[in-house]
Symmetry: D2
Subunit: 142 residues, 4 copies
């Protein structure tokens, strides 16, 4: 059975580019955060009410492979899914794809469920259930 995955569009700005007309390596993390925000909304668990109830998903690690440059005005597609969800851990897999279809960036961001004052905490069962439909049993990219 194929899990659901989520797509997010992002238009590259001058703010994100550096010398040589390509997106600066750190800016993809900003784009990924915007994509995760929409992912949680799409999954029926928007981050703002979670935050207001004291729940956050801080990043504890990440791994990225940069395959090619995104350039000014490119309309990127971010594909997002969950590689693994176990206990308090949620690992997001992602691909960032050029409008022409080729892969630009791929990797994983690793999060834990925590209180907003930075203590690990059990994920609410309803939230875990909402996220579970985005878990891919095999870590294959879409």
């Amino acid at each position: 059975m194929q899990a659901a995955f989520f797509k997010f569009k992002h238009r590259v700005t001058y703010a994100e580019c550096t010398i040589g007309n390509h997106v600066y390596y750190a800016r993809y993390l900003d784009i990924l955060e915007a994509a995760r925000g929409e992912f949680f909304r799409h999954a029926g668990a928007p981050l703002l009410p979670l935050q207001e109830s004291g729940i956050a998903f801080p990043v504890i690690g990440l791994e990225i492979a940069y395959k090619g440059p995104a350039r000014y005005d490119d309309l990127l597609t971010v594909e997002l899914w969950i590689n693994e969800m176990k206990g308090i851990r949620v690992h997001f897999g992602f691909k960032i794809v050029h409008p022409a279809g080729h892969l630009l960036v791929e990797g994983e961001t690793r999060h834990i469920c925590a209180t907003t004052d930075e203590k690990p905490r059990r994920m609410p069962p309803e939230l875990a259930e909402r996220l579970s439909s985005f878990v891919r049993s095999e870590k294959n990219a879409p």
Copy 2:
């Protein structure tokens, strides 16, 4: 009598540059904030203990003139002083100068003294006194 002013050095990174090898217009505001942080420390009133005692200096306005591009690896000098300090308002004047001596950016950032939950508040007299030696009676750049 000439008021004191404060100098801060900053080395331009790729992160701050955009296409065409110049610093992106918003990044100067990040550099100015770093300079103001060191200014307050230099004036004997570092921002962190002020923040911990519930005092902040949010920006309520600014005006900037961009005269020329700063480029990768330029070692910039930020010159900082106070144009005006009256009641709860503090207006910082600044110049950002190229290592070769020419002016790149100049302007003013306008702040108020506020509580950390965003209510205007009277400036502590000791703090006002520490800052007062950086006020220039005439708004002349150094």
Copy 3:
């Protein structure tokens, strides 16, 4: 006769917020640049082909008044128009408005038409014509 103006939506991310849950003062400039990019596209003169033909609109000055904080997940509306267009100068007026309707930020960014190697140049007449319908004779906000 009322000139046209342009609206752009932006969702606030954690990347843009700082301590105290409000958008950092410099990040509005990034948001404004994204809005201007869509403005030029909407006006039938997208910036990428202009850039490829050697034309850019560097910022030479700006003035901003910050009226209230934008916070995480706020869906902001940027309203954009042209205050003045004369010779090589184009001055954009803007307002950034909270979803509840109140004004958060307003001001002006001042640009010139230039070559991509940073020399002032005359604006192509067709481009000037496309932009002219967004000029407001009086600097009234929408």
Copy 4:
């Protein structure tokens, strides 16, 4: 024989912090770039003249573990060394350490030697020799 390693100091600004008073996960990459710039200068091979001669070190991958939050005004120490240098690849190891001594962030950024128009190229032998004294045979942190 112990290889040399390089230390870089960085003061955390509000620009780098997000809600909850900690450095946003992407901003460490900006800090690491500033540290690498000084590393190359320290190693006698500053990046600007390399860039002017057509040589760059784009990032092709990275891995980061976030161990604890850096906060506003923390004076961080970035420790930087080379994990591996082979053919056109240079892998930098790093630790970011809190002023109190505990580890905040660690990981690796993976680069290749390339032309400034993004084609892989052999590293100049003199440059390779300068960098070689920073290679650690075992990937032990300092």
